[in-house]
C-alpha cells in the first residue's frame, strides 16, 4: 500500500487489451475524496472497462491503478472492500427478497449482523422499498430493481462508489432523490464515479468530467471550466427593461461587444469583477434600467459534442 495523499484513485498509463481488441490506451487520471467524476463517452469508449479495472474485476494490460493507495492487481481484496459498484444491469436474484438479498451481499462485504440490522431498513426506507421488502425481487418493477441495486452498492458504506447509469429507469422524482443522496455522500467525503449518457445528470452531479473516446481520454476538466465559453475570457449577457438606441456603440466605449440589440447585448470580459460594477454604475447614471447581467455558459452537451468532434454534424442535423 502506498500513501494515498487524499486520492481515492490514481490511474497511470492504463491500457487494456482483450485479445486483439484495444479497449483502453494509456489512460491517466486521479480522483480525490469528496469529488464526483462523470465518466462520459459513446458506447464502446471504454467506460465499463475502466470501471471494472478500478473495481479490480480486470487487470490492466499496462500501467497501474491505486485505490486509496492499494494496487488493484496485488491488493485486489482490499480494493474490492472499499468499492461500491452499481453495475449497468441490476442483476438481482429473482427468488430472493430484498432484506435477505442485501444481507447476503452485506455479509460478503464483511458486515456484522448488528450493522446489517441498522443499515438495511435505513436504505430500504430511504429508497422507498421498505413496503416492498416482502415481495420476491422477480416481482419488482424496473425502477425498484434499479433502486435495490443502488442500495446494494451503498450498503457497506464504501468510500469509493462506481455508479454505472445510477438513475436509469427512475422517474424524475426518484432521480432527484438519488442525486441528493450522491451529493450527500460526496459531502461526507466519498469519492464517486458516475458513468452516464445523461449529460444533464453529469452537469448536475459532477465536479469533473472525463470524456473517453476509442479508449483514450479526449477531455478531462472541471465542469465549471468546461462550461465557460472561452478559457481566457467570459461572455456576459446584459438585459434592459426598455430599448435604447445605439446600445452597442454605447457599450463599445467600455467593453468588447460581441453582439447587441435594442434591449440586450453580449460582451466579452477578462475579469467580470473588475468590468461589471463600473459598467452598471455608468448605465444607471445614464438612466438605463438594467434587468439582468449574467455570464453565458455553454451546456455540457455542447462541450461533449465538441469533444466528440460532432458539433458540426449535430448542428447540421438541427437545421
Amino acid at each position: 500500500m502506498q500513501a494515498e495523499n487524499g486520492h481515492a484513485i490514481v490511474a497511470q498509463g492504463v491500457s487494456k487489451r482483450f485479445g486483439g481488441f484495444q479497449a483502453l490506451r494509456g489512460l491517466s487520471f486521479s480522483l480525490r475524496r469528496g469529488e464526483v467524476l462523470a465518466l462520459l463517452g459513446p458506447n464502446g469508449a471504454g467506460k465499463t472497462t475502466m470501471v471494472r479495472l478500478i473495481a479490480s474485476l480486470l487487470k490492466p494490460s499496462e500501467g497501474h491503478i491505486r485505490v486509496f493507495g492499494y494496487d488493484t492487481v496485488r491488493e485486489a481484496a482490499e480494493v474490492r472492500q472499499r468499492v461500491g459498484l452499481l453495475t449497468e444491469a441490476p442483476g438481482l436474484y429473482a427468488r430472493m427478497r430484498a432484506e435477505e438479498y442485501l444481507a447476503f451481499f452485506g455479509r460478503l462485504y464483511g458486515m456484522a449482523p448488528a450493522q446489517l440490522a441498522k443499515e438495511v431498513p435505513l436504505w430500504l426506507t430511504r429508497l422507498g422499498l421498505w413496503e416492498a421488502r416482502h415481495l420476491r425481487l422477480g416481482e419488482y418493477s424496473k425502477g425498484m430493481r434499479q433502486k435495490l441495486a443502488l442500495v446494494r452498492a451503498l450498503l457497506h458504506r464504501a468510500p469509493l462508489l462506481l455508479l454505472d447509469e445510477p438513475t436509469s429507469a427512475l422517474d424524475p422524482a426518484w432521480t432527484h432523490q438519488v442525486h441528493g443522496i450522491i451529493r450527500e455522500l460526496r459531502d461526507q467525503g466519498h469519492a464517486v464515479i458516475v458513468c452516464t449518457h445523461n449529460l444533464a445528470e453529469a452537469q448536475a452531479l459532477a465536479d469533473r468530467v472525463l470524456v473517453l473516446k476509442g479508449g483514450q481520454a479526449v477531455l478531462e476538466a472541471r465542469v465549471q471550466d468546461l462550461r465557460a465559453t472561452s478559457p481566457r475570457r467570459r461572455l456576459m449577457d446584459l438585459r434592459l427593461a426598455q430599448p435604447v438606441d445605439g446600445l452597442g456603440s454605447l457599450l463599445a466605449q467600455w467593453v468588447e461587444v460581441e453582439s447587441a440589440g435594442e434591449d440586450w447585448a453580449r460582451f466579452w470580459t477578462e475579469d467580470p469583477a473588475q468590468t461589471n460594477p463600473p459598467l452598471l454604475q455608468r448605465l444607471t447614471a445614464q438612466g438605463i434600467p438594467v434587468v439582468t447581467l449574467s455570464e453565458v455558459h455553454r451546456s455540457l452537451e455542447e462541450v461533449y459534442l465538441e469533444a466528440m468532434g460532432q458539433v458540426e454534424e449535430a448542428r447540421r442535423e438541427e437545421t
Binding site: G19, S56, R80, L85, E88, G91, R95, Y109
Partner: protein
Amino acid sequence: MKRREAILAQARLAWLVARREAWDNLRDWRILVPILVLTLIFPFLMNITARVATDFVERYGAPILGTRLVPFLLMIVGFFPISFSLVIALESFAGERERLSLEPLLATPISDAALYLGKVLASLFLPLVASLLGIGVYLGSLWFSIGYVPPGVLLAQVLLLTAMEALVMVSAAVVISSHTTSVRAANLLASFVIIPVALLVQAESAVMFWGQYEALWWIAAGLLVVDVLLVRTGVRVFNREELLSGEAASQGLRGIGARFWGLCVGPVREAWQRGQGPAWRRALTALAWLYGRHLPALVRQNWLALATSLLAMAAAGVLGWTYAQGHPLPPGALQFGGLSPESLKMPVGPSLLPPLEPLPIFLHNARALILGAVGAPFSFGAAPVLLAMLPIALIGFFAGEVALAGQAPGTFLLAFVVPHGVLEVPAAWLAYAFALRVGLAVVSPGEGRGGGGLLGALADFLRVFVLVVVPLLLLAAWVEARVTPQVVLQVYGAG
C-alpha cells in the same frame, strides 16, 4: 496465522455462497419436483422391478441374474438424482452470467477459488442428498420386502461412484459454462458431458452384471483423475479476468477462425517479411528463419511435452518387451528366414495395416497422428500419449519375442524398423508431443489466455505438422515401401 485467517474468511464466504444457492434451488419447483419424484417414487418402482425380476428369473432357475440386478438397480437409483447436478451447475454458472447477476458477486471481496468452491458445493448438495435419500428409500423398501442388505463394500462403491460422477458433471459444467454466455449454448454443449457419463454408467452396469465388483474401484480411480483435471481446469477458467474478458472479447465462429488462422500463419508471414529481393530469395530466407529459428524455439518452449512423450514411448518399448517375456509366442510363429518379395506384400492381420505403397502408408500414419491431436482436448492429452505408446509397445513386444525365439532382436530392429523408423519415430514423437500440449492447454490454459491457449497450442501443432512432420512422414513412407523391404530381404531373404 494471517494466511490461515484469510483462508478461513474465504471459506466462510464460500459457505455463504453455497448456502444461498442451495436455498435458491430449494425454492425452484422446476428443480425440486423432478428430484422429489426421482428420490421418493423412482426407488419404489425400482424395488418393485427388483422383486418382479428376481421372482421371474428364479422361476427359470437363473437366480444369479436377480442377485446381480439388485445392486445394478441400486446404482441406477443413486445415479438418476445426481444427473440433476449438471443442470443445476449449468444454471449456476452459465445462468448467472446470462442473467447478469455475476458481476455484482465478482465485485465483492470473495476470491475466485472461494466463489468456485461455493458454487460447486451448491450444485452438488441437492442432487447428492436426493441420491442418498433415493438409495435409502430403495434399500429400506428392499429390506422390508425381501430382507436384502447390500454388502458394505458394494454400498461404499456405489456411494463413491455416485459422488465422483456428480463431481465430474459439475466440474465439466463449469468448463462448459466458461466457454458460453448463455444457458442455451451451455445446454447444447452439455451432451459432451452426458454422453460419456451415460457410457460410463453402461460400462459400470456391464461390470456389475459380470460380477466384477473389483473393477468398480478402478473406475472410481479413473473418475478421481478426471475430477482432479476438471476441477483444475475449472479453477483456471473460472476467474474474474477470464469471465469478463471473455465477455468483452466474445467472438463468433468467424472471429475465432480468423484468430486461429492468424496464429497459424503469423510466423510464416513474419518469416516472409524478413526476406528481401526476388521471390526465390525471400522464400529461402523465410525457410531458413522458420527452420533455423522459429521451429527450434517452438521445440524449446515445449520441452516438457516432448520429454513426457519421449519417456512414455520409451516406457512403452520396455513394457512391450517385458510383456513378451511373460507371453511367448508359439514356437515357429516368428520365422523370418527365407522371406521372399511376395511374402512381404501379403496383407497382415485384418486389413489394419495399409498396403506396402508410399501413399497408403503416409495416409495411414498421418491419420493416426491427426487422431491423436483431435482426441487430445477431449482426453486432456491422454489420447496422443496412448497413441504414441501403442506402436512402440508393439515394437518392444516383437523385439522381445524375437529374442525369446533365439534370434537377434537388434538385427530384427535394424531390418524391419530402423530404415524408415529413423524418420517416422521422430515425426510421431514431435506430432504427439505437440498434440499433448493441445490437451494440456484445456487443463491449464495459462492466465488470461482461456480458449486462446488452446487455439495457440493447436496452431503450434499445425505448424509443426505441416513444416516438419508431413515431410518426414512422406520420406518415411517412401523408405518403408521401397527401402525397408529390400533391407529385410537382404537380411532375412531366401537368396
